[in-house]
């Protein structure tokens, strides 16, 4: 396996091999999951197989995270640059882009041409949606980079989940405002994922549009100019979805509706768990402190990280947004999710359970230490939270 040589500060030469190098292909292959169900359905005639990817995602995946556990290893500081620049890793993110199109078209073709029971039809649409949610993850990794090709591929892949505004919203909005009450993509303590979704989905779109409009105004162009990068990606979405409608008929209306909503819901779930309750404090000038590793919930769970291009090493990602997935690091004493993302989503979807586990974890963080002034709290729940967790005067930590 390919390795990197470097010299430690003491003069000692080291040779570092990235054991995950070839395992990252899991992130490339995972979006092909609808075809496992389609193949088994074709082989056996049992439509229930079409739902297999849901079972893989939300039962097998959390189980594998639990069994395989966490990996806190970091590449040595001295080889980080070489690792970051190795084109192998970048090429994997290019390769997955066409696969997202193949998956959606393949699932639509099967749903549009087979006579399926209503539940199998909707199940396959849901599987396609969950899979396109992974496309947002691919667009996320690509959209953070400086090269033209990566930015172009980000816009292209985000056309699959109809989320072309995401990379502008995420890079220029969410990263700037993360873990502040102003950020529609950072969830607040006491805010259920369902309440969060109604704030996040429209809020993210509005912020992206405002940012892009402002940029185009500086260039003396209208927001509706074809230089608008949101419109560029959305037009590709339109071509793709109208194409599917023309190819497979009216059945594509419910199919694409379920697909789109489920794809967005994947992102909402990820956003919800990534910064729950965390708050950047203001300095004496009223400016928010820089985003530090403890402003994101992190997870080192091996399996789900391998299928998500290391997205769960979220603390380093927010501290250094351009760092490539293969070189994201673990830090000690980070806010840590109780499981990988797929398991955490399950928890998030059942709000009383989520609050029970996460509110306690949030307040116990070393930088919070039960001090509610260091928590991003949902205004509608503030009184109840202060009542339940607030310290009485004179009480010390």
């Amino acid at each position: 396996m390919k390795g990197y040589t470097a010299t430690l500060p003491g003069g000692e030469a080291i040779y570092y091999v990235d054991r995950k190098r070839y395992l990252w292909t899991l992130s490339v292959l995972y979006p092909l999951q609808p075809f496992i169900g389609i193949w088994l359905h074709a082989e056996t005639g049992n439509q229930a197989w079409l739902l297999l990817p849901i079972f893989l995602g939300y039962v097998v995946n959390p189980l594998l995270d639990w069994v395989l556990g966490e990996d806190e290893n970091n590449p040595p500081e001295e080889v980080l640059l070489k690792l970051d620049r190795d084109p192998f890793y970048r090429i994997l993110t290019y390769l997955v882009v066409p696969l997202h199109f193949v998956s959606l078209i393949g699932a639509a073709w099967w749903a549009g041409t087979q006579s399926l029971s209503w539940w199998a039809f909707l199940g396959l649409a849901a599987v396609a949606g969950i899979t396109s949610g992974l496309g947002i993850n691919t667009g996320h990794e690509l959209g953070h980079k400086k090269s033209k090709i990566e930015r172009r591929l980000a816009k292209i892949v985000l056309a699959v989940p109809v989320y072309g505004h995401f990379w502008i919203e995420h890079n220029r909005g969410h990263h700037r405002d993360v873990s502040t009450p102003e950020d529609p993509a950072s969830s607040r303590m006491g805010e259920s994922i369902y309440r969060f979704a109604t704030r996040e989905i429209p809020g993210a779109f509005k912020r992206a549009w405002a940012i892009e409009k402002e940029r185009l105004e500086r260039r003396d162009k209208s927001a509706w100019d074809m230089n608008n990068q949101i419109l560029q990606s959305m037009s590709l979405s339109l071509v793709l979805q109208v194409g599917l409608l023309l190819a497979f008929g009216w059945k594509m209306i419910p199919f694409l509706l379920v697909h789109n909503v489920l794809a967005w819901w994947q992102l909402t779930s990820a956003n919800y768990v990534e910064h729950y309750g965390l708050l950047r404090l203001k300095d004496d000038k009223g400016r928010y402190e820089r985003c530090q590793p403890h402003h994101s919930w992190n997870s080192n769970h091996v399996f789900s990280n391998l299928v998500l291009f290391h997205l769960e090493r979220h603390s380093d990602h927010h501290a250094h947004p351009l760092r490539r997935y293969q070189s994201l690091r673990h830090f000690d004493n980070l806010p840590t999710l109780p499981s990988g993302y797929f398991g955490a989503y399950l928890l998030a979807w059942i709000p009383p359970l989520w609050f029970r586990v996460m509110d306690k974890a949030l307040l116990a963080l070393p930088h919070v230490n039960h001090d509610l002034t260091r928590v991003n709290i949902e205004p509608a729940k503030r009184a109840a939270i202060v009542q339940k967790y607030g310290r009485r005067p004179g009480e010390s930590s």
């Binding site: 220029r172 990263h175 700037r176 940029r215 500086r218 927010h318 351009l322």
Partner: protein, 53 residues
Amino acid sequence: MSAYRCPECGYLFDEDEGDEHEGYRPGTPFAKLPDDFACPDCSVRFKDDFEKV
């Protein structure tokens, strides 16, 4: 004219060149950038954080 660099990601704002994509014309002084200017590449460093090169 001078150039200013983002200490986080290395983005360079060269006053001679401006930044066409972002809509800053060649010859735009760094001081004339909006007060809430965030690094166009990483968005986690702001105008005050930029270093003159």
